[in-house]
Each structure stands twice: as structure tokens, then as C-alpha cells.
């Protein structure tokens, strides 16, 4: 650099003489710093998302012969309760009858159970309002009632009254045999 300032001629690169070059350096340095901050911030934010072992969620199997008609069994699946309910013919009839009632989250009863097996209902047992566990058989519609904020679900697990916006969620599940099911 020293050789460029030899002589009495004015230095064309003196500060202030070339504002566009100075601006470029400022903007480039600022952009690099901002990029570095964002790049460092993301790992610090993303570390709070589910870790690898949490994501490696196992599916569970369940023997339906343990559930009598009119009963419900609560399993733990992915940290949440899972309802396995064997409905009575009266409950099924009530659910089918309301297929065309005023529903907040419209769904037919048929879409919520496996074909030909209307007695078995498998649902994630957390209220779609704020995640409490609804109680079995309660409420105005005989399905479930959430004690936290008063959501009523019918015998198909559809939301009928109260603050919850959605029906109880039907997880991915399948029959392995007549009595064995797999969830997840």
C-alpha cells in the first residue's frame, strides 16, 4: 500500500473522496454481520423443536378383546391419551342420525370409523380447544365432555357445543386382525 501514496498527487482513495466505495464496504460488512446473526440464531431457535429421539415415535398395538361394549380404554400414545371406545348400537344410531345436523366441523359418522366396524372408535383423547382430556360419556350428546372449558362431543367424537373448534382427531390406525389393531 505504501507505494500508492508516494508523491504529492492527491490520493484518489482518501476517505470521503469515493463515497460509493466506502458505502459498499459498510453495506457488505453490515450484511455479513446480519447474515452471521441469523445463521447463529436459527440453531438457537431450532434446538427447541422436537429432538431426534422424540421424533422417532413408536407405533403401538392393542388387543381389542379387552374392551367390552359400552366401554372405553385410554391408552398413552405419543405422550397423549388415546381413546378406544366400543360403541353400543344406540350410540352408533345416535351418531348416524346426527350426520346431517348442524355440525361445526362437518363429518359423517362413517368417515370416523373403519368400514363395517362402526362399533370401534379410535380417537386422540385431547380436546381440540386447549388440550384437556374429555371425560367419557359426559355432556349433552353422550360422547365426551371436556371439564376444562365445557366442550361437548357426540358419540362420534364430533364437536357439538362449547369452545372447541374441531372434532376429536382420528389418528392413523388399522386392523391387524379381528381383535388386534395398530395405531401410528
Amino acid at each position: 500500500m505504501a507505494d500508492t501514496v508516494v508523491g504529492a498527487t492527491p490520493d484518489p482513495h482518501a476517505p470521503g473522496d469515493d463515497p460509493s466505495r466506502r458505502d459498499f464496504i459498510h453495506i457488505a460488512a453490515g450484511a455479513a454481520a446480519a447474515g452471521a446473526v441469523v445463521g447463529l440464531a436459527w440453531p438457537l431457535i431450532d434446538q427447541m423443536n422436537p429432538a431426534g429421539d422424540t421424533l422417532a415415535l413408536a407405533s403401538i398395538e392393542f388387543d381389542l378383546s379387552k374392551v367390552a361394549e359400552g366401554q372405553q380404554v385410554v391408552l398413552k400414545w405419543r405422550g397423549k391419551p388415546l381413546f378406544v371406545r366400543k360403541r353400543t348400537p344406540v350410540e352408533i344410531a345416535a351418531a348416524v342420525k346426527d350426520d346431517h345436523a348442524q355440525l361445526r366441523d362437518p363429518a359423517t359418522d362413517e368417515s370416523r370409523h373403519k368400514a363395517g366396524k362402526p362399533e370401534w372408535l379410535v380417537l386422540v383423547g385431547t380436546c381440540t380447544h386447549l388440550g384437556c382430556v374429555p371425560t367419557f360419556g359426559g355432556g349433552d350428546y353422550g360422547g365426551w365432555f371436556c371439564p376444562c372449558h365445557g366442550s361437548h362431543y357426540d358419540t362420534s367424537g364430533r364437536i357439538r357445543k362449547g369452545p372447541a373448534p374441531k372434532n376429536l382427531v382420528v389418528p392413523d390406525w388399522a386392523f391387524l386382525s379381528d381383535t388386534q389393531i395398530k395405531i401410528g
Binding site: 422436537p50 371439564p147 376444562c148 372447541a164
Partner: protein, 439 residues
């Protein structure tokens, strides 16, 4: 804090330190010599009480963290071990748990003082906003702290509150998953809550320093709401207010001690002495008393997102209050109409707290009326909550803005000293204009 300091170092060491780090001068100007309005009443003692409560929560909390284990398998048992086996663990935990309630009691009285005497108005808006931020941080800290014992109320409280964020469209679900660190409230959630519960009190302490800084720029408001005009309106903070605050602290500590020693669980819930069970929600889930008004607002709305927005809106409203109240008169002593609406507001807040503790569909008086309005019986807590919620918001967004324009305030005294000096008993020549009514 600024300008003329009357501190004079007396010893060589003080002089030496003063020219390098004037920390003694700072403490002297801030806590001893600070000119304070001479007419402050006991409603002004809660600042000192709150500072003490923060210190108590910090000390007891750091001690508890030495014995607590933030793991779903050990958290509940480690709290029970603190209660039974750790030397004086029962005392420290009861001080911490009831300390939170006392902290909120003091902060509510402090906020009510602000609302009544108009302390949030210019030039104290930043002071007020910093106070709102402290309150917000307190709520976050208290909620997270309540989760740590990992009892039934801890767990399901955490489920409900974190699910509030799920109400947001599109980003709701990723945010709740991110908060949980999984697909349900579980060990990762407990771990991070413990970390944050240790962090947030220090954030509060930092905000408190800013709060006091912002207080010492304009100085204290006072019951008349009139600006300090001369030094005859003020007295030095020490000994006048150190003694007054000290007495108030002593009385407050009596109340605190009566909870810690005689009824340590009355403000808690028996359900939280049952270990957390993700498969069963307690039949009646309620937050701690200091959250009940907001809980009632949440439940008053029959829509998930609407309820969440209204609940957060209640807190957000506080932040913009200095710009909603259009009246130039600070103190409600001189605002007869505003005073009336203010007391109805206090009543509405208490009613909301009462409703928050009840089941929404239960009748308020006797048995249900049988008259349905929209989705619920008119004689139900949900309708009472709706009424009180309506007033809560109307007070800030309609009444205060309109009243400032329509109300004719009573004559405001010339200065803080005037109402005292022109009192008929002390001034024989009482003919001077003094329409100010006392009492």
C-alpha cells in the same frame, strides 16, 4: 440521579472511590436524598414492598433450585423431598409459593394505585409501559414456575396455556410443538421451563432497574396529581419514606407470614399434590387466583381464537392506556364521574376473578332460570363473565376516552402544598379560593 448531587464524601476512601466509580454517590442520590412529594399516602408503599418480594423470590428460588430435579420422573418426588427431608425446605418452598401470591397482590394494588391517581399519564408513559412489561414477565414466570412441581394442576395448566398459542392460524401448531419440544407437554417442556423460570426473574430485575430509572426522571406522582412546583413540595426519601415504606413492609410481611405459617396451601389446589397424569384431567381445572380474571375472559368467548385474542387483548390494553385516557387531570380525587366508573371497573375485575374460579355453566344465584340466551342460560357464570368482560374493555376503550372530553373536573389545587396550607383550620384568612373538598 441527574443534575445537582448533594453527596459529599466524608472519608478518604469514599473520595478515592467517588472519583473512580461514584457508586456511593449514585446510591445516596437515588435512595436517600431523592426529593419525593411530601403528600404520598400508603398506596405509594407498594413499590418498596414489590422490590422486597422480588428479592425474597430470588433468594428462595435459588435455594429451591439446589434441591429440585427438572425431570418428569423426579420432579414431583424432589419437591416432596424438599418438603419432608431438606432442612427447612418446607419453609423455603412455602415462602416461595406464597411469595408469588403476595407478589401479585402487591402488584395489583400498585397498578390500582396507578389507575386511580393517573400515574400513567405524561410524562410517565415509559415508566408505566416498563411496569406493564414487568407484570407480563411476572405472569410468564409465575405460570412456568407453577408447572415445575409436576402435579396434576401443573401439567394440565401447562397443556391449556401452551395450547392457547395453537389457536393462531397456520403458525399455531408449529409454535406449540416448538414450545413443547415434542408432540405433547413432556420432559423437554419441563426442562426448558425450569431453565426459563431461573432466567426470567433476572429479566424482571433488569426491568425493575429501568423502571426505577424512569421513575427518577420525572419523579413520583402524588395523590393530588399536581406536579411538584418547588422544594417546599418535597421531602428527602430518607428518612421520611424509608420509614413509611418500612412500616408498610412490616405490616405486609405479617399478612405474608400468616399464609406461610398458618395456611400455606389455601391459595393452592389440592390436585397439585397428585403427580401429573397425562391421561386424566382434573374435573375442575383453574389457574392460580391471580390469573382468574383473564381466565374468565378466555372462557367468556365461545370461540377458541376469539377467547385467546380477547385475553391477550386485556393485557395489551394496559400498554396503550396512557393514550386512551384523554383527561388532563391525573388524580381521580378531582374527577367525580371517573371515580365512579373506576370503582365499577374494580368491581368488574373482582367479578371476573370470581367467575374464573367457577364452572361456566353453573348458575350464579339459585337454580338455572331456564332462559337461554344464545348458547347459555342467562343465570350462569359465563354470562356474568361476558358482562364483566364487556365493562372491562369498555372502561379503557370507551369510558376513559370519552369521559376526558365530557367530564368537568373539580378545581385542582395550585400545588401540592396548597390544599394543606389553605385548609380552613390552619388558615384564618380562608377566603382564598379553595373549592377543593377533602375526604
Amino acid at each position: 440521579m441527574s443534575g445537582h448531587s448533594s453527596y459529599e464524601p466524608k472519608t478518604g476512601i469514599e473520595r478515592w472511590l467517588d472519583s473512580r466509580l461514584p457508586i456511593v454517590r449514585f446510591a445516596f442520590d437515588t435512595a436517600l436524598d431523592f426529593p419525593t412529594p411530601k403528600n404520598l399516602n400508603y398506596w405509594w408503599t407498594f413499590g418498596g414492598i414489590l422490590a422486597l418480594m422480588l428479592a425474597i423470590q430470588l433468594v428462595t428460588g435459588i435455594v429451591l433450585a439446589m434441591h429440585y430435579v427438572p425431570h418428569v420422573d423426579h420432579a414431583f418426588a424432589s419437591v416432596e423431598r424438599i418438603m419432608r427431608d431438606v432442612n427447612y425446605g418446607w419453609l423455603i418452598r412455602y415462602m416461595h409459593a406464597n411469595g408469588a401470591s403476595m407478589f401479585f397482590l402487591a402488584v395489583y394494588l400498585h397498578i390500582i394505585r396507578n389507575l386511580y391517581y393517573g400515574s400513567y399519564k405524561a410524562p410517565r408513559e415509559v415508566l408505566w409501559i416498563l411496569g406493564c412489561l414487568i407484570y407480563l414477565a411476572m405472569m410468564a414466570t409465575a405460570f412456568i414456575g407453577y408447572v415445575l412441581p409436576w402435579g396434576q394442576m401443573s401439567f394440565h395448566g401447562a397443556v391449556v396455556i401452551t395450547n392457547l398459542f395453537g389457536a393462531l392460524p397456520i403458525i399455531g401448531e408449529p409454535i406449540t410443538t416448538w414450545l413443547w419440544g415434542g408432540f405433547a407437554v413432556d420432559n423437554p417442556t419441563l426442562n426448558r421451563f425450569f431453565s426459563l423460570h431461573y432466567l426470567l426473574p433476572f429479566v424482571i430485575a433488569g426491568l425493575v432497574i429501568l423502571h426505577i430509572w424512569a421513575l427518577h426522571v420525572p419523579g413520583n406522582n402524588n395523590p393530588t396529581g399536581v406536579n411538584v412546583k418547588s422544594t417546599s413540595d418535597t421531602v428527602p426519601f430518607h428518612p421520611y419514606y424509608t420509614v413509611k415504606d418500612g412500616f408498610a413492609i412490616a405490616v405486609f410481611l405479617l399478612l405474608y407470614a400468616s399464609f406461610v405459617f398458618y395456611n400455606p396451601n389455601v391459595l393452592g389446589h389440592a390436585d397439585n399434590y397428585v403427580p401429573a397424569n397425562p391421561l386424566v384431567t382434573p374435573s375442575h381445572i383453574v389457574p392460580e387466583w391471580y390469573f382468574l380474571p383473564f381466565y374468565a375472559i378466555l372462557r367468556a368467548v365461545p370461540d377458541k381464537l376469539g377467547g385467546v385474542l380477547l385475553m391477550f387483548g386485556a393485557i395489551a390494553t394496559l400498554f396503550v392506556l396512557p393514550w386512551l385516557d384523554t383527561s388532563k387531570v391525573r388524580s381521580m380525587r378531582y374527577r367525580p364521574q371517573a371515580k365512579l366508573y373506576f370503582w365499577i371497573f374494580i368491581l368488574a375485575a373482582l367479578v371476573l376473578g370470581f367467575c374464573g374460579a367457577k364452572l361456566p355453566d353453573d348458575p350464579v344465584i339459585g337454580s338455572p332460570s331456564g332462559l337461554m340466551l344464545l348458547d347459555a342460560d342467562i343465570n350462569s357464570f359465563v354470562w356474568l363473565s361476558r358482562l364483566a368482560t364487556l365493562y372491562f374493555f369498555a372502561y379503557f376503550w370507551v369510558i376513559l376516552p370519552v369521559l376526558g372530553l365530557t367530564e368537568t373536573p373539580l378545581p385542582v389545587p395550585e400545588s401540592i402544598s396548597e390544599p394543606v396550607l389553605s385548609h380552613p383550620a390552619s388558615t384564618p384568612a380562608g377566603g382564598v379560593a379553595s373549592p377543593e373538598k377533602r375526604g
